[in-house]
Amino acid sequence: MVEENLDILIISFVIILLALSTLIGVLMHIFNRKRLELLLKMREAEHKNAQMISDARRETQEQMLKNLSWELHDNIGQLLSVSKIQLSMMHLPDEPQQKKLLEDTIVLLGEVLDEVRNLSRSLNPNSILFVGVIKATELEISRLNRLKFLRASMKVEGKEFEIDKDHQLIIYRIIQEIITNVIKHAKATTFEIKFIFDNEFLNLICTDNGVGKDVSLPFEGLGIKNIKERCVFIGAEITFESIINNGVTIKMRYPNTLSNQQ
């Protein structure tokens, strides 16, 4: 009788433990799977939100630049034109010194008007889209040299491929942001941009001879954040290299998306 009881006990225990383990195991498995699905959904939603915010910020920036471009061209540009015309219509004084002063002022005003027009064009996204990123960068480089901010140079190597127009605008904005950072923070005297085209990628390399940065510290700041967000948007990779007192090199690798689509 006791042995019978023991047998029944052992069998019962085995059955119960097996059933319980299976039940609890299945339950935990279901819960873990659902938890992972929820985590994935939340991450996707976060990513979408961040993308939306980034898109909105970018659109706002472009609109602001457009508005600034119009203001410069339609308002300030017009005022300067009128001022130049009015000065030109004045009788030149007899006194040679005063005559030279007036002539110089008219020439200076003409230069200011040209700069304002150039600035207006560089801010206006439509004009960039019209001339393309290479030409727009050339104009920006010549403006830097003319204004003596930096000794800037540009090189284009390899066979150029077609880049999506919206992406060209974004690449140009990235270059503008890099130049702004160099002027504001780098204390550099030279700046070089290289466009290197191969079949699959456009490699953009920007180098300056400024104070450099400690690469162990993260490259942060609103300008860098804008650059990184724009790179993510166009599917480009960006890296920052630097040695203290030996400048910064920024390398952007943009994939040839239009030929990949074909």
Partner: protein
């Protein structure tokens, strides 16, 4: 001796740990349930010593403890339809307990196992409704830190096997001694899960 351990000592430990860490409605109902377990056993032991029979103690205990479990789950379930289902089932249990226990012969002379078995099915329904809601909730991210989850696991560990054990005993497939040993082990596992609930959990 074993009965004293699993029927009084284990619920006492769970109650003390719950009083130490528990701070919401769910915990209060859980503490009430543990308190009812302990009180039932103490009264049961006292009554059997004096009168020789204590069936009425357990006939009262069963509907009370399952109603407390129902209220415990109502406090954590947010879906209105699930709460309505639980309330309806509690009412059904109370009605069944009343009609089965009212005749004095059944109330005093024997243990009404039908009420207990119905209560077991009910608690499993309550747990199912709760876990189903948890699966569609953001709290799923940290389900393993939730007290109510581990208490539900503990209740599953105890009540899922108990149904076939009691039925087997009724059909005389197992002896009361075998039943006691199984109850002993299941109680240890259940209260271990309750301890995990209170020691490892955090406020979600």
């Amino acid at each position: 001796m074993e009965k004293l351990f699993y029927a009084i000592a284990l619920p006492s430990i769970s109650l003390i740990v719950s009083l130490w860490k528990g701070d919401n409605k769910f915990d209060r109902y859980f503490q009430l349930a543990m308190g009812v377990f302990i009180l039932t056993e103490i009264i049961g032991i006292y009554v059997i010593d004096i009168y020789g029979r204590n069936f009425w103690v357990y006939n009262c205990h069963v509907p009370i403890v399952f109603v407390i479990y129902g209220l415990m789950y109502i406090s954590v379930i947010q879906t209105k339809s699930s709460v309505r289902i639980i309330k309806f089932l509690i009412a059904l249990l109370v009605a069944l307990a009343f009609f089965l226990n009212v005749p004095a012969t059944t109330f005093l002379e024997k243990y009404n196992i039908q009420v207990f078995l119905f209560g077991v099915v009910l608690i499993l329904v309550f747990i199912f409704l709760y876990l189903r809601e948890l699966l569609t909730n953001d709290k799923l991210l940290e389900y393993y830190r939730m007290r109510s989850f581990w208490i539900s696991i503990g209740l599953i560990i105890f009540y899922v096997p108990i149904l076939p054990v009691f039925v087997s005993m009724e059909k005389r497939l197992i002896t009361p001694e075998v039943r006691e040993i199984i109850l002993y082990v299941l109680n240890i596992l259940m209260h271990f899960s309750f301890l995990i609930a209170y020691i490892w959990s955090r406020r979600i």
